[in-house]
Symmetry: C2
Subunit: 676 residues, 2 copies
């Protein structure tokens, strides 16, 4: 049986058990979305939808131009009747599920609610591959691709090259359930396939594969979600028979235009393309002496007549770095590459920038590109799948880290702080074309996310996109209340507490103070202090017997700090004012350097790594108290993963502490046992 | 075109161009081996074999009991006639190829030569898998298994489980050529399949797979080579339908007897079984509360009526060690496990012991089990495939290391040194059942071994087995003269010099002073100083800011040194008398510890790692001078690999030097550049 996540039918039905619905779309016309609402009322809620408005208690009404936003909605309650209104049927989808959530949470609506999404683009990126595997997937196989009923937990090892016309799983009921989950938290865009596009995945934009993509897109469309595809820049050569992919070549442009026209003939509300180009071995415009703006704009022009967008990833860096050369700095790459292109992208081209300058580490500063670009549409990229955050084995509720990043001053304004959500529209060329994207964390596992509590990240990501005012705690409370509606308050508090503390707990036992990347190189899980230290990926910690950390100062280091606005750079440049949590990201300091906390770096390392294991022990103890108070499947799932997390945390504690003790020779001031 | 290794037909034919052969096997009867000699005279030598002895110049004569050994031979030359005599047709195979080698080397035979093999068992173990891959193979796919003509250079990643009845490659011409190579250097036993026996490989001992094994065995048999198979201890359950594999269970014994009887019905001269049990996850007698002697003797009793042998690997250790516990020591494992079983093995059971206590590292002491066992048949195991010795990318002629190990005092006698070859018969229960085994280094690559010069290891291993008096230099000279017969003396000297120095060169730039295992954990090639440091394999170096190495002393360490005889232990226990090349294997010493060479440990590390790259540069320079003087394929093959070796040596130099510089803080006394 598939997990119902935060839409447990019994809970939903209980919450709306007395309601009678009425849907008025006469002003906009019946469409796939209004029909979907009717179906969900009938099948999910098992409630009537009447034809006479006066018989109803809940009225969903599409009224063009009633609000400023075509996605926002209003809820009014008067005389026992609820009115949910919006300009479009899209808006009604969001209003309908938002109202349901409020009912499930047990709140009452006392005054008019108007809800407008914070971000225009609220996207999920799947790194699913046509062989059914998921790059960096930790919850089983792809729900889109693969063989029917197959769910081998093979490690992702390579990008499939094998050709095959029948690569679709065909599990439409699961896709429908997934689309409902996404819509219920406000997601409006999904990309189906991995950005590393190889083999038959390159052909998804052509027949007959496109016909199957259209079937999936149709389901998402019912839930107001636009479908995107990742494309291979070299497709004109690989599948088009051309001898170039030069973005300024007329034949190449014509090929993409024809291909895009074909797609829109099949999928009228197709979202557009996601492109990873000239990055980690993928082809791109550099081969033809063109730059990323040339590349992106070629796609933008092909998509523009249909209202489509091209989303161009800024994750471009040299992945063959020489560890010997301390002047090189991977953190500099996105800014160095894209800052000079500011203002050159078409209005329907969007640059997708990871929130940190490296790659979704447990602690990273905000990317300096966010703030520096002033005439470019940006999407900020997050990673819900826990590549560096515990593989959905270790509990890790990511919202605290994401929201803290978004709340960072971008340095856009010389005088006052401008956070990321405030900044994006200021820099935009077209304010409709900004937002957030995040890599999916779901798969064929029964509970969708491997670790039950990892559902909270998917839920929370959607909520964060829609409502920028929510705190991480508030979102955790929402998710827990919806998901564990049938248990007692104390149990819910335990779960909320685990979620709220989990991100900090995980960060406490992995690479310290923002230095990052002490993971095993084969899969990015578990400890490998030196695994990347002499490798080609540009991710080093430079620890020696005297100190540790990366000198990214302007004065003596790589100069990376100079990419930030002066006010921000000044604070980071001085190890005395640099925040503790990213100290080793910016500075190489002695082990005896004293943090703002008053502890030395070495003592901080010891303390946090002992504390990390203790925190996991606490989780285990308190989770054990939930036995019989929540459903058995969830209890066992989390209990089993907590044991694995404990083993992981112990390995981290012991290896990190031993490594730095062997290096520094400095004993723990509390005299705890550190293995030699 | 397949490489002819050391049996280049033109060279062979030139060497014997005036000879007329006569073969007299009337006293023993014509058999597969005598027919094989006739075929090789006709097809390889293209010379006549006459029926009237008086017309011949070379006479091969089988005369029962003419010598003390059934494998040895005599060569007499008188009045222009050469007589090669032996008790058996097996002996004539060896005599024939030995005489050919002497002729190819240009020597004259002035007095009677009697050649008796030093080792009764001279074996090659293939780690070939039924899917065509070779575990730790660096020369392409298996010559026995896989699809016809396939030779993908995929990394060995896992043990194949897939079932398939048609797993044999069927390239009989290649197997015949290979058997000829082996016989020409005196090999008399070969095991076809990997000791990790999974999937269909478990079924090789049954029909219909056995029928194909018999076809291969028949070819080896013509060249006097006995065929062995590796078996899975759990076969009675997995393929026999029994519910136990208890070696003392009558039904299990009966199953193995029936299986063995079946094999001998198909392969009358079948050699026997190779068994890896209770090791690295393989099943074994421990599951039934039995010990290794119980397990081995079960097979021995089944094989005994047919004259077969069971070869039981002593490579048994805990591969889930806790790096935190410094009292644990993998080096102790073989002795601790097998020393108590001394005297309990049947006369046709043989314990196969790796020459070093860990696993074929570039510098290891002799295993203390060799010398300690006093009533057990032993085979000493070597590894020709260059798992830890450069993957046949880096040139590494291993005979210097192997012969030095064999020349070590085993401590068997309280008063005088007893080398390994002298010791084996003293400890044997049946002196026919001792010898050497080595893991093969060949595959489907055109030159058999990936790196042309790696052929010298296969050649040298056979020669070392047959003639214990040969030096490494002498063997290198033989191989070079045979293989490069058509070039000039100076070119041959260059190649010999590369071979002779290569083992020391490789050792100079990898893990220092016997500490071992600083390789990448995913494939055991290239540098990964800490890759095994916190892992479960029991292979650590314990470097810290003050010193490095493993304390295996009795006084303060793991006590491993106590496994050696007192005379040997005393010398090893004292860091002052312990040989430099294994110092860090036995002792944890400060970086400032002064070696017998007069250098400190840290300066030795720097010096050898700079010197290693310089030596490879020398190889490249001198190899370049061979262009046009040897065949192009070999020139290009070695030139290309030397470039890869250079890159490897540079990485080793820089990572090792940087690692130890960061640790110790001690600068190079010559002021050379060490990256921070």
């Amino acid at each position: 049986m598939i997990d119902h996540m935060w839409l447990e039918p019994n809970v939903v039905r209980d919450a709306v058990r007395d309601e009678v619905f009425f849907l008025d779309v006469s002003a906009v016309g019946e469409d796939a979305r209004s029909l979907r609402i009717r179906a969900d009322i009938a099948e999910l809620l098992e409630r009537p939808c009447v034809t006479d408005e006066r018989d109803s208690t809940v009225r969903l009404m599409a009224r063009p131009s009633v609000l400023e936003s075509d996605e926002g909605f209003a809820i009014d309650v008067a005389d026992g009747v609820t009115e949910i209104t919006g300009n479009t049927t899209r808006a009604l989808i969001y209003g309908f599920y938002d109202w349901m959530r409020r009912r499930m949470l047990g709140g009452t609506i006392d005054e008019r609610i108007v809800s407008i999404p914070s971000q225009p683009i609220r996207m999920i990126d799947h790194w699913d591959q046509t062989d059914g595997s998921v790059e960096r997937g930790y919850a089983g196989e792809s729900i889109f691709f693969g063989r029917w009923n197959s769910n081998e937990h093979h490690e992702y090892l390579e990008f499939p090259e094998r050709g095959d016309s029948d690569v679709f799983r065909g599990d439409m009921a699961r896709i429908e359930a997934y689309a409902r989950f996404l819509a219920s938290v406000g997601i409006n865009a999904v990309s189906l396939n991995n950005v590393n596009v190889r083999g038959v995945a390159i052909r998804l934009i052509t027949h007959p594969w496109l016909d199957r993509v259209a079937q999936i897109a149709r389901i998402f469309s019912e839930y107001a979600i636009d479908t995107y595809l990742s494309v291979n820049f070299a497709a004109p050569k690989i599948i088009g028979g051309l001898d170039t992919c030069d973005p300024l070549d007329p034949a190449v442009n014509a090929w993409w235009r024809r291909t895009v026209d074909d797609i829109y003939a099949m999928i009228p509300d197709f979202g557009g393309f996601v492109v990873k180009a000239d990055s980690e071995g993928e082809p791109g415009p550099f081969s033809y002496g063109r730059d990323h703006a040339d590349g992106a704009n070629m796609f933008a022009r092909a998509l523009e007549p249909h209202g489509g967008r091209v989303i161009w990833r800024a994750f471009v860096y040299d992945c063959h770095m020489d560890w010997r050369d301390r002047t090189l700095d991977r953190a500099r790459a996105a800014y160095d590459t894209f800052r000079p292109l500011d203002g050159r992208f078409e209005a329907n081209a969007i640059l997708q920038v990871k929130f940190g300058p490296i790659d979704f580490q447990p602690s990273e500063p905000l990317s300096p590109l966010i703030g520096a670009m002033r005439h470019t549409n940006l999407i900020v990229e997050f990673q819900i799948t826990a590549e560096y955050l515990g593989h959905q084995i270790d509990v890790n509720y990511m919202l605290p880290q994401w929201l803290a990043s978004l709340d960072t001053d971008t340095g856009y304004d010389a005088d006052t702080a401008v956070t990321v959500p405030a900044y994006l529209p200021l820099a935009a060329v077209d304010r409709r074309n900004i937002g957030y994207a995040a890599v999916a964390n779901i798969g064929m596992d029964d509970n969708w996310t491997g670790h039950k509590l990892a559902q909270a990240n998917l839920y929370g990501y959607g909520r964060m996109c829609w409502d920028g005012s929510l705190t991480a705690d508030a979102i955790a409370r929402e998710w827990t209340s919806l998901t564990f509606a049938r248990t007692d308050d104390e149990a819910r508090e335990t779960i909320e507490w685990m979620l709220d503390t989990s991100n900090a707990t995980y960060e406490s036992y992995v690479a310290p103070l923002g230095v990052g990347f002490m993971v095993k190189r084969e899969n990015h899980y578990g400890v490998g202090v030196n695994d990347f230290e002499y490798d080609r990926w540009g991710t080093y910690h430079y620890s020696d017997r005297d100190g540790t950390g990366v000198d990214r100062t302007v004065a003596t280091g790589t100069g990376y700090i100079g990419q930030y606005a002066p006010r921000i750079a000044a604070a980071l440049e001085d190890a005395g004012t640099c925040p503790d949590d990213v100290l080793l990201f910016f500075h190489h300091v002695p082990y005896t350097h004293v943090l703002h906390s008053g502890k030395t770096v070495i003592q901080h390392i010891y303390d946090t790594h002992f504390a990390g294991v203790e925190a996991v022990d606490d989780y285990i103890r308190r989770w054990d108290g939930l036995r019989g108070r929540i459903d058995d499947a969830t209890f066992e799932n989390v209990a089993e993963r907590l044991q694995r997390q404990r083993r992981n945390a112990i390995e981290w504690r012991d290896q990190i502490n031993t490594y730095f003790h062997r290096m520094s020779g400095i004993p723990d001031s509390h005299g705890r046992s550190i293995h030699r």
